[in-house]
């Protein structure tokens, strides 16, 4: 038992690591030039290269993977020479990076060749001073300085050679002088809860992700709560009536629903309940962040769609398992012992019949996530699936990677729960 759990956990960790590497590589290989998407097709190669450097894309892939996974502030710290910390900006509500210079949060900026030190005051405002004597000299005799800039990068300025950089502002691309030569876009990394900045929205991914995850969990949870008991009930009912009309009706209905894609079920449910009967909202428009809790009707159709598709599959699995168990020698024993049929089913069969579906259901969670994407797209439901879909289409790799890792984590954790549930049901594993 202990061994089993330890193995599962070790395997989970390795799996997550493998997934993160393959996900990173896949996006690395294929995502093409993201700067084209952000800057538009009319941008010049020079502009793209400059912007890519600002995103840290000029670093080698392994370096970016490590940065992505565990952050890079510890690496940048050695360059800057001070501890790097984050502090919430009261205006945006997002975290900003600062160097901790003897207890004073500090950033720097280069203006017209002069290095300014920005010190943060307790009220959140900053004061600037001209910084002198901070420049260091490298082997080639250039004067350089590593510091934290106002855009949350660790950067290297070179005195007198202020590079020209293309900055992306709300008004479009703007050429700026006094730019740094090197960028390290500071981040804490996925493992420390910071998956980076969304390229599509320009805001930290973590901020948007949280509410999306919550919405999706509510949707999936509601569907799960409805599907499980119904599917097991119908599956068992069909299983003990193998070959009889009731079994045929349940089996054919479940097959029919399973074979109908979510997007079709969803559309027809909208047509029936949203358009013809007008009892349920056809789209899930969130007026506030807590809209689902204020108006549960919003998720009625998405949940119904998911239920229609998943119910049949799980019911079929349960049926198959039940049929197999009812055919086994120990059920024969129970019948020959003269046990009433209800006792045979409830005391002898169900527990054994549930073992197979439970592992399958838990493996099936990633199917459910697939269904979620489609359902969320149909109903415009602001959940994780919709987010992944839009980010993937855009090529927003920070967002896709983070969101995909969340779905993978959900899949793996449910599988772990499935393994545990199986262990609890199966005394052969529990006592060995």
């Amino acid at each position: 038992m202990a061994r089993f759990i330890i193995r599962s956990i070790i395997s989970t960790i390795i799996t997550m690591l493998l997934v993160s590497i393959s996900l990173f590589l896949l996006i690395e290989v294929g995502s093409g030039d993201i700067t084209v998407k952000i800057l538009g097709v009319f941008s010049t190669p020079e502009q793209r290269a400059s912007y890519a450097a600002q995103l840290g894309l000029d670093a080698p892939a392994w370096q970016r993977y490590i940065d992505w996974l565990i952050g890079n502030d510890w690496r940048a710290k050695n360059k800057v020479g001070y501890p790097l910390v984050t502090s919430i900006n009261p205006q945006t509500g997002e975290a900003d990076w600062w160097a901790d210079v003897d207890g004073q949060l500090t950033r720097w900026t280069l203006e017209e060749g002069r290095l300014l030190t920005l010190k943060r005051q307790d009220d959140g405002s900053t004061t600037s001073h001209i910084s002198s004597g901070a420049w260091q000299i490298d082997e080639e005799g250039r004067e350089y300085f590593w510091g934290v800039d106002v855009k949350n990068n660790a950067v290297m300025w070179v005195r007198g050679a202020g590079a020209e950089v293309w900055a992306l502002t709300k008004a479009g691309l703007r050429k700026e002088g006094d730019g740094p030569m090197k960028y390290i876009p500071l981040r804490k990394g996925l493992l420390r809860g910071d998956p980076g900045i969304s390229l599509q929205y320009g805001r930290p991914v973590a901020v948007t992700l949280v509410s999306r995850i919550r919405n999706t969990l509510v949707l999936a949870g509601a569907a799960f709560v409805i599907i499980m008991p119904l599917a097991l009930f119908f599956g068992i009912l069909a299983g003990i009536n193998e070959g009889k009309p009731l079994d045929r009706i349940i089996s054919i209905t479940s097959l029919g629903f399973t074979a109908t894609p979510e997007f079709v079920t969803g559309i027809f449910l909208i047509l029936i309940f949203g358009v013809w009967l007008k009892v349920l909202p056809a789209v899930a428009i969130f007026t506030s962040a807590d809209a689902i809790f204020e108006d549960p009707k919003l998720i009625a159709l998405p949940v119904l769609t998911l239920t229609a598709v998943e119910l049949g599959y799980i019911a079929r699995m349960t049926r198959a398992s039940m049929v197999e168990v009812m055919d086994s020698a120990y059920i024969r024993t129970a019948i020959i012992k003269g046990m009433p049929i209800s006792r045979v089913v409830f005391k002898h069969a169900i527990r054994n019949a549930l073992m197979a579906p439970i592992t399958i259901i838990m493996l099936h969670v990633n199917w459910l996530v697939g269904g979620l994407v489609v359902v969320e797209v149909i109903f415009g439901y602001p959940g994780l699936g919709y987010y992944i879909y839009k980010s993937a289409i855009f090529g927003d790799f920070n967002a896709v990677e983070a969101a995909a890792m969340v779905t993978v984590a959900i899949a793996i954790i449910t599988r772990l729960f499935g393994d545990l549930a199986y262990t609890l049901l199966n005394p052969r594993i529990r006592y060995s």
């Binding site: 038992m1 202990a2 061994r3 330890i6 193995r7 070959g243 086994s328 020698a329 120990y330 024969r332 024993t333 129970a334 019948i335 020959i336 012992k337 003269g338 046990m339 009433p340 006792r343 005391k347 002898h348 527990r351 054994n352 073992m355 049901l425 199966n426 005394p427 052969r428 006592y431 060995s432």
Partner: protein
């Protein structure tokens, strides 16, 4: 006896036929079966597989599945008609008045319910007993079947106890309501011989004490001889003969019964006498039975009448009931085997050369992983299953070494190591002077070709996707022993030697019977002309009549090709019949090795003695010593110190201090005679004083 006659029999079947509906018709699996069982009587039903024995049992319980039903006849249980009884009435009978014990206890017990719950529900449901009281009774019953630590067993799950104990639980469960009729379907077939013996003792004892009527189904003539009072012989869905157990064995009327008895090896008789005569042909499938006598096509005495008219059951002067037209005229003692089943004549050759294979101190350990955290991450202490410990033997060309032992004794590992499916842990093994301690990947092709193997299970010995010809031809092709264009001719020659014709060349395995598959398996092993063939229980999965044919065939092949054989089996009678030398193994250790005759007569190793006394002998008149081993076979991960057998040895007490030395010291090899060695602390003088285990009554036959 007279009192018994007055009460109606517990079970009375009259002219019962059971049919199964299949696509496009109906198959009568069982026809015209009639018999009765009285209180306190064990009625054996014996026959080969596919003869409808189990179907009769299921018919009594009316558990024939969705497509089976009793087509004709009546089944009366204590005077009450059972045919047509369904629903609640049937449920009340099952498990209360009629109980059943099955072949495989592991399958029959619910894996996810505690044994106590499975047992007590029989009482709570049928008798409405309180849970507490029911449990108390269950514990009593478990103790009654000699289950050690009964109260604790109640809390366990089936997989946590051994096979023998599981069968005790099933038997205890069946007896809880003191049923009038107990049906046992091959209850000991899945068990080892010493465990089987103990369970059979228990059954006999319970029958006496509970005065239950038992219907005992088995294919094993030895078992049936030991447990039953009356025996019914079934063949192809019919009961062909029914008589008391003594009459069946001493004076069988039906040619099938006679044939069956002729084809089992007998442990009691001396080796020269025990010649096996197989029955030719095979049991016809239920949808293709002959018109006249079902046994006709295989019968030596067939007449025109047998082909046309189905014989009726007739009573013989001595009370036996036989289904044969000519039962009175057939004299079994005048029988002579026909050409096709004539056993090979064995000529004894003198040993001239060096041994072909010699093994010295061979060990095979498997590493096992523990379940603690330290073990998982690889820091735990390494533990080993000591599957084979210090095995030493040699075999001369053209001779056979038989290896016997119960499951888990290491006999299979031993031959796997020799053939190279596993490498050995240490020790020496030489074959024709070449080292064979490594596994097969490190052996030379010409060496691989010289060692081949015959397998146990006919259903898995052949690859279902290839024809007979392809499979026999493959070794020739691989070892290039035969030029490509001559392979077919060679294969056909081999098929002829196996008494299979050329028309088998293009057949697929599913078109063959079990015995035919086994013949092909032997042909495949011989295809590369090996010097040594290892046979892993080649006949244990076959019906007795086929078993005899395969054993004879192997002997014949050995004569013809001068092949050396290692023959492993759990059946002591088969090994005796077949081998020149025998090694007895227990828990990885060879306990006794020597010429076959010597193993079966004193001096014995105490384990060999116990094994011999456990073997069911197909002769109700033979007298066998009663020695039963206590407890379970210990784990091979941590085998007992000193002598591995000391935890169960019934003879330990003969040593001073109750055999303290057996726990402390590894026993010495004692040379009893030329080539006969015994691994025991008991001095030879003591071992020699043991009586023979099996004694024949003086009259003989």
């Amino acid at each position: 006896m007279t009192e018994l006659k007055k009460t109606p029999p517990v079970l009375k079947l009259e002219d019962v036929a059971v049919a199964y509906k299949v696509r496009g018709g109906e198959i009568e699996a069982v026809q015209n079966v009639s018999f009765e069982i009285n209180r306190g009587e064990t009625h054996g039903i014996v026959g080969e597989s596919g003869c409808g024995k189990s179907t009769v049992a299921w018919a009594v319980l009316n558990f024939l599945g969705a497509n089976g039903y009793v087509k004709r006849g009546s089944i009366k249980f204590q005077g009450q008609e059972l045919v047509g009884v369904t629903g609640e009435e049937l449920r009340r009978l099952r498990g209360d008045q009629i109980a059943m014990v099955y072949q495989d206890p592991m399958q029959a017990l619910n894996p996810s319910m505690r044994l106590g719950d499975q047992m007590s529900e029989v009482l709570t449901v049928h008798r409405g007993m309180e849970q507490k009281e029911a449990e108390k009774r269950c514990i009593e019953m478990l103790e009654r079947v000699y289950m050690p630590d009964a109260a604790n067993v109640m809390k366990r799950y089936p997989h946590q106890i051994s096979g023998g104990q599981q069968q005790r639980v099933v038997i205890a469960m069946a007896l809880l309501n003191n049923p009038a009729l107990l049906i046992m379907d091959e209850p000991t077939t899945a068990l080892d011989v010493t465990v089987e013996a103990a369970v059979l003792d228990l059954i006999a004892e319970l029958r006496r004490d509970f005065d239950t009527a038992i219907m005992y189904i088995t294919h094993n003539l030895g078992v049936v001889a030991r447990v039953s009072t009356r025996v019914g012989v079934m063949y192809a869905g019919e009961m062909v003969e029914r008589a008391t157990v003594e009459q069946i064995y001493k004076n069988p009327y039906h040619p099938y019964t006679q044939g069956l008895i002729r084809c089992v090896p007998k442990l009691g008789a001396d080796k020269a006498k025990s010649v096996l005569y197989p029955i030719r042909g095979r049991v016809p499938p239920p949808d293709n039975r002959p018109v006249g006598c079902v046994y006709g096509p295989r019968c030596d005495y067939i007449q025109e009448r047998c082909r046309e008219e189905r014989p009726r059951l007739r009573q013989m002067p001595n009370g036996a009931i036989v289904r044969c037209h000519f039962a009175e005229e057939i004299d079994a003692s005048q029988w002579t085997p026909s050409e096709d089943i004539m056993p090979p004549s064995v000529e004894v050759k003198d040993v001239v050369s060096d041994p072909i294979i010699s093994v010295k101190g061979l060990k095979k350990y498997y590493e096992v992983q523990g379940s603690s955290l330290r073990d998982v991450i690889g820091l735990g202490e390494k533990r080993y299953v000591k599957a084979v410990e210090n095995a030493s033997f040699e075999i001369f060309k053209g001779k056979t070494l038989g290896v016997v032992g119960e499951s888990g004794c290491g006999k299979s590992t031993l031959i796997k190591t020799i053939i190279g499916l596993e490498d050995s842990t240490s020790g020496e093994a030489k074959f024709l002077g070449f080292d064979i301690t490594d596994d097969i990947s490190k052996r030379d092709e010409s060496l691989i070709q010289e060692l081949q193997m015959v397998f146990q299970n006919p259903d898995s010995t052949m690859n279902p996707s290839y024809t007979v010809g392809q499979q026999i031809g493959r070794p020739m092709q691989r070892f290039k022993t035969t030029p490509k264009d001559e392979i077919r001719g060679e294969v056909v020659k081999l098929l002829d030697a196996m008494r299979l014709g050329e028309n088998y060349y293009d057949r697929l395995p599913r078109q063959l019977s079990g015995g035919e598959k086994q013949r092909v398996g032997i042909a495949r092993a011989l295809a590369s002309h090996p010097d040594l063939v290892l046979c892993d229980e080649p006949v244990s999965a076959l019906d007795v009549s086929v078993q005899a044919a395969i054993l004879n065939l192997l002997l014949e092949v050995q004569q013809k090709f001068d092949t050396t054989l290692i023959f492993i089996a759990h059946d002591l009678s088969v090994v005796r019949f077949f081998s020149d030398h025998v090694a007895v193994m227990y828990l990885g250790q060879i306990m006794e090795i020597g010429p076959a005759e010597a193993i079966y007569t004193p001096p014995y190793h105490p384990y060999s003695e116990a094994l011999l006394s456990a073997v069911p002998i197909p002769d109700p008149t033979a007298v066998q010593k009663h020695i039963r081993l206590k407890g379970n076979v210990p784990s091979a991960i941590n085998p007992p110190s000193g002598c591995r057998f000391h935890t169960r040895c019934p003879r330990r007490e003969l040593l001073p201090d109750g055999g303290k030395v057996c726990e402390l010291e590894i026993p010495p090899w004692r040379d009893a005679a030329e080539g006969h060695r015994i691994f025991c602390h008991l001095p030879l003088e003591t071992l020699r004083t043991f009586d023979p285990v099996i004694t024949q009554p003086t009259e003989g036959s």
